[in-house]
Amino acid sequence: MTREIREIAVVAFAQTGHRRTSEELSEVEMLMPVLHDVLARTGLKAGDIGFTCSGSSDYLAGRAFSFTMALDGVGAWPPISESHVETDGAWALYEAWVKLLTGEAETALVYAYGKTSPGDVREVLTRQLDPYYVAPLWPDSVALAALQARALIDAGLTDERELAAIAARSRTAAAANPHAQLRGATPPGDPLVAPLRTGDCPPIGDGAAAVVLAAGDTARRLCDRPAWIRGLDHRIEAHSLGVRDLTDSPSTRLAAERAGAFELPVDTAELHAPFTSQEVVLRRALKLDLPGAEEVRINPSGGALAANPVMAAGLIRLGEAAARIQRGESDRALAHATSGPCLQQNLVAVLEGDAQ
């Protein structure tokens, strides 16, 4: 891995205000202002973009091929170079990053959106599970996260008090984030699927996000302080929950190693932990609990506990980390995205700004 690789950076980030419902808007109507916003930040026009990649899931709104309708918002005709992933937009960013690394494009537009309000997201997410042994039991997303939380508590790695503190810290931080859905500390709430309480769970809501990636000098031209992607990797756990050690996330650790996260300390970590207990797992896997890591700002945006537009929340972690670098508030940030039950799949990016 000594080969010189192309420098790629996040040069712009935009997102909606995330809300419980956006029923007055279609998906493309919700998404389009974000696309216009992110392009305006770079001065690029839609036609200037070399590659477009999106992440979404038709299951959320219950509409087949809804992502093709969303493409209307980028002006996809005459045909553009375009791709789509049926998962969180962080993986669309990964695909766009690879595309730029090949040299086939100079710029990329990555977007993601999720409209969870039309359906019952806890039920919808059961459809991503093993269809033979698990999905017929309809275990919802909160139930599976609760099994993981109990395993952590049993192992002595956390307790309900610490989980409540994670929720409070996240939502207090979100008070400064105008896009967040829950802004300001909320009470722990009633048990939903014990040991998880409503406060341990993410808000249900609709939203969209977009970033622009650019290579080398193009990035320098489009942005005062590009957030250079120093490493990016994603890994997956075995799919059977009963095979995994739910208290650990070897896939996150491996992705972080491959992304170079442990080579130098980071000052910021945007972790995609929709449930409080998952932050405990991630902090351990990413060595953010070790002595010396106390200074790392974890989820200054409030994280997914403050806004969780499904399919966009992971991309937002990368966007928030990059925006922090662009604002000069971070020099080296880690961003993480997850997908699937109990942190099934994990993506880690390391972003850096040039010396200030």
């Binding site: 007055e24 808007l25 039309p118 275990p139 609760a146 099994l147 109990r150």
Partner: protein
């Protein structure tokens, strides 16, 4: 802004899935009240069993029986059971490591309350009365105070093995079509067809979707089009659709309404199917109380010149 339109939308499929040899043996075993695992190369026993080793990806075929009793490795108390879940009263989700297995199986545990559940507790399978060869042949687990149950010594070979499952799945949504399509539907209920014009390329989209797919900008200027239009292309339908009370053959056509830059599609009636042609001039036919035209019929005007609609094909 007019009120947001909403309608219930149910998406329902009976997914038919075929089984690999290990899955088939496991699910057939459940039907016969036998729990099978599969041995990995390093001699671990996986329950539920899988076709390929989760670590090495090697093909696994070595079936081994385990006991219908086991130990809870983690649990969560479900205060409000949801549709489709194994029990209708509050229960515990559990991962259970069956006696003889090295991995855990997800299922439900029937217990009187969460105080009666703890990690490490002993449980046993409660079999469903009617079993078909599915994970739901295990009705749930129940507390069990005893030694590991005896195994039957089963080989994993069955007469009449199940080779597939049918997994019914239904998700319920409340569909709302958004601003542009709501405006279109509202106008249509007044028997007016209203498209939207792109502020950049000036094309009029019918029905409008809120964005111009060429320019990537919002459309908002409303433009009434039609009611008359031109058949740009068509097909003859010879297969009768389920639950559709229309005699075959009939014609389904793309129709460019006057003033629209995108053709919509509708059925053509009021003339023999074999006389429909490109360029035919048509108008909508409404039925009492309908929210959209039932079909389009000939106006009797001369056919449109090809050049007037060739861009809309």
């Amino acid at each position: 802004m007019p009120e947001v339109l909403k309608a219930p939308l149910a998406v329902e499929f009976p997914f038919t899935r075929s089984l690999g040899p290990v899955q088939s043996a496991f699910l057939t075993g459940l039907r016969e009240r036998v729990v099978l695992g599969v041995k990995t190369v390093d001699s671990r026993t996986l329950v539920p069993p899988v076709e390929y080793d989760p670590v090495t990806a090697e093909e696994l075929r070595d079936l081994v029986e385990v006991a219908p009793t086991g130990t809870v490795t983690t649990w969560a108390w479900n205060h409000h059971p949801r549709r489709g879940q194994p029990l209708g009263t509050p229960f515990a989700w559990v991962l259970v490591r069956l006696d003889g297995a090295d991995t855990a199986l997800l299922h439900a545990l029937d217990a009187p309350g969460q105080d009666a559940v703890h990690t490490g507790m002993r449980v046993r399978v409660r079999w469903a009365e009617e079993r078909t060869g599915a994970i739901t042949d295990i009705a749930c687990f129940e507390p069990y105070d005893g030694e590991p149950a005896q195994r039957t010594g089963h080989t994993g070979e069955f007469e009449d093995a199940v080779t597939g499952i049918v997994a019914a799945a239904r998700l319920d949504y409340t569909y709302s079509p958004g601003r542009a399509q709501s405006a279109y539907l509202h106008a249509l209920s007044g028997r007016r067809t209203v498209g939207e014009r792109c502020p950049s390329c000036r094309k009029v989209y019918v029905p409008p979707r809120g964005a111009c797919p060429t320019c990537g900008v919002a459309t908002s200027e409303q433009v009434e089009v039609g009611p008359r239009g031109t058949v740009t292309t068509f097909c003859i339908v010879n297969i009768k659709a389920k639950n559709l009370d229309i005699e075959v053959p009939y014609v389904y056509a793309h129709i460019a309404l006057d003033g629209a830059d995108l053709a919509l599609h509708a059925r053509i009636g009021g003339m023999p199917y074999d006389q429909v042609r490109m360029g035919l001039r048509v108008e909508p036919v409404w039925t009492e109380g309908a929210r959209f035209p039932d079909h389009y019929r000939p106006t009797g005007e001369p056919d449109a010149e090809y050049d007037t609609y060739k861009e809309l094909l």
